[in-house]
């Protein structure tokens, strides 16, 4: 695609830039502190980190503040910043079984190993806009938190939170033990593709596809999921979730001199396993298969869409173009960048389009004149209509 770079209007552009900067820094409202974003708008902050591809709560908050709440713009700022950062070391692959759950549910099965831990979820809160007295509510919440700190063992809200190791076994482990799951694990352990270094195209390995989905725009992934929860028979499939977990994943590196693992810290992640009922003609109908989703931060919607799309892609055998849609259309920066560029001046592009139209019109008028001269208007019958040569190709 060849786009003509915008020239001119530099002063207007600089003034617009200054207007954005000044209005943002000097709005008639109290300044938005970073902890308000990281602590009070945690879903937003997590989403920006996930789509930006960088775990940095404070930087994500700055990006959201600078982007004035435009999620994709904030993710863009974060990802652009990420691209300037050096790679300092390689992490030791994290074991998802070490995720310290803040929330863990198994919608497929009541009696699972380990607890069903609702945790901090909006799943069961009423969707009623709370118009009550917020000062009163905040005072009550503060008192309840203080009371809970004194008697944590009696507090249901506290007990709905984190659990300690040992970490609960997965439903998938149970399915494997009872020979109900297709085993697609592999021993060769290929290096994962780094999608920030390699342009992903259809046919690329699963690690790249999973990475693309982990970094995808949440809305795009949910939309694609909704359009594609189809089995090989093209019927909508009831998808069952085996695990939905949100928790803290330990991040370790090898010490450069001793080679020993060193804990750097934790990042919160959402992990989902989606169980799929295999019923295709060429599939093992006596077993289930499982799709996997893992995204940074607390974003269950995205992790569920990812897990479902992962298994859908496996079952699809690249037949429907789903892989292409996942790889090429779900990145928020990519899609919105292409869309937003339409607002840049396209004067030359459009002028050349106009000139093509005018040239075609001139050409057609000339041909019509010639046609009239050489071929007096014939009586058009259906057969003659079919055989008619397009006007542009009439020769004298």
């Amino acid at each position: 695609m060849g786009y003509v770079a915008a020239r001119g209007g530099t002063e207007a552009i600089a003034a617009a830039e200054e207007l954005v900067r000044r209005s943002r820094l000097n709005a008639d409202a109290s300044w938005l502190e970073l902890d308000q974003l990281t602590e009070r708008l945690r879903y937003l902050n997590d989403r920006v980190m996930g789509e930006g591809g960088l775990w940095a709560p404070q930087l994500a908050a700055r990006a959201i503040r600078q982007a004035e709440g435009d999620v994709i713009e904030a993710a863009h700022l974060l990802r652009a910043h990420r691209s300037t950062l050096p790679r300092l070391c390689e992490l030791i692959p994290a074991d998802a079984d070490e995720l310290r759950p803040l929330r863990r549910i198994v919608p497929a099965f009541r009696e699972v190993p380990g607890p069903q831990l609702l945790g901090r979820t909006l799943d069961y809160t009423g969707r009623l806009l709370d118009l009550g007295d917020e000062d009163q509510a905040r005072a009550a919440a503060a008192a309840a938190t203080a009371a809970a700190a004194r008697h944590p063992e009696d507090d249901p809200a506290e007990n709905a939170g984190a659990t300690e190791p040992p970490f609960p076994e997965r439903l998938l482990d149970v399915l494997r033990r009872t020979d109900l799951a297709v085993d697609r694990r592999r021993d060769d352990d290929p290096e994962p593709t780094d999608i920030s270094q390699v342009a992903v195209r259809p046919g690329i390995g699963r690690s790249a596809v999973l990475s693309v989905m982990a970094r995808a725009e949440t809305g795009a992934l949910v939309n694609l999921w909704y359009r594609n929860i189809l089995g090989p028979d093209n019927h909508l499939h009831e998808v069952t979730l085996g695990e939905v977990r949100h928790g803290e994943l330990p991040i370790r590196v090898r010490h450069p001199r001793t080679g020993n693992p060193v804990l750097l810290g934790h990042l919160r992640a959402t992990e989902v396993e989606a169980i799929e009922d295999l019923d295709g003609a060429d599939e093992d109908r006596t077993r289930f298969d499982v799709g996997y989703g893992l995204v940074a931060g607390h974003n269950e919607r995205k992790a569920i869409a990812m897990a479902n799309l992962d298994i859908a892609l496996h079952r699809d055998h690249s037949d429907s173009g789903l892989e292409q849609s996942v790889l090429m259309t779900t990145d928020g920066l990519d899609a919105s960048g292409f869309l937003e560029h339409l607002k840049l001046p396209h004067y030359v592009t459009f002028r050349s389009m106009i000139e093509r139209k005018q040239a075609m019109r001139t050409d057609r008028a000339r041909n019509e004149r010639k046609g009239r001269r050489h071929h007096p208007a014939p009586v058009v019958t259906p057969a003659a209509e079919q055989a008619a040569v397009p006007a542009g190709e009439v020769t004298p």
């Binding site: 300037t84 050096p86 790679r87 780094d194």
Partner: protein, 209 residues
């Protein structure tokens, strides 16, 4: 003090912390936009014994990239420089024909023909090369033209005729070598692969236009 400990200590001064690597990157980028025009380097905490040419890998190299340091005359200096870059950036030392970044400490004219220049399908694989010189005022006069240069001008960049000819022969955009030349006065200039270098004895024959 052993050479290894010396390298670790020097690397601690050479590691570009925080936004320092971005600041150096901006200068290197600006230099590419104005080929042949010297720019001041930012003030950095780097030990003055280390050649400024190391700033190219120090600012841009990381774990995912590779580098090579060339120096014919002082093996100890060359080895120390390589250790410092590896220690400060995590980049791996590689052969000249595969390295992402090459630092040439002495203007050896064999270097341009030994580094990679990319291909028409992958011009980004062309090497990014830093050359250390004493002074821009010395060296063979060259005329330079190309993108970013409003009017062709004649200058010197501290490099001799043999090196400049070797460089010119390797630059056939889109393939080629992006070169930054660093002097001992804390300045840098760039000769991107898109810049046409006329070495003046040739220029005299062909005429400057």
């Amino acid at each position: 003090m052993s050479a290894a400990i010396d390298a670790i200590r020097l690397a601690s001064t050479a590691r570009l912390q925080g936004s320092a690597s971005t600041v150096v990157f901006r200068v290197l980028l600006e230099a590419l936009a104005r080929p042949g025009r010297p720019l001041e380097l930012p003030e950095l905490a780097m030990d003055p014994r280390l050649p400024n040419a190391l700033l190219l890998p120090l600012a841009l190299a990381d774990l995912g990239t590779s580098f090579w340091v060339h120096g014919l005359y002082d093996e100890r200096e060359r080895k120390l420089a390589a250790d410092v870059v590896r220690e400060a950036t995590g980049a791996r030392l590689a052969a000249p024909n595969v390295a992402t970044f090459v630092v040439c400490l002495d203007g050896d004219p064999s270097v341009p023909s030994r580094v990679r220049i990319g291909s028409e399908l992958a011009p980004e694989a062309g090497v990014k090369m830093a050359v250390q010189v004493e002074n821009f005022a010395t060296g063979a006069p060259i005329s330079i033209t190309g993108p970013g240069i409003a009017e062709a001008f004649i200058t010197t960049v501290g490099l001799d005729r043999a090196f400049l000819k070797a460089l010119r022969n390797r630059n056939q955009p889109p393939v080629g070598i992006d070169t930054w030349v660093f002097d001992r006065h804390h300045r840098v200039l760039a000769l991107p692969r898109s810049t046409r270098i006329g070495v003046v004895d040739d220029v005299a024959r062909e005429g400057v236009n």
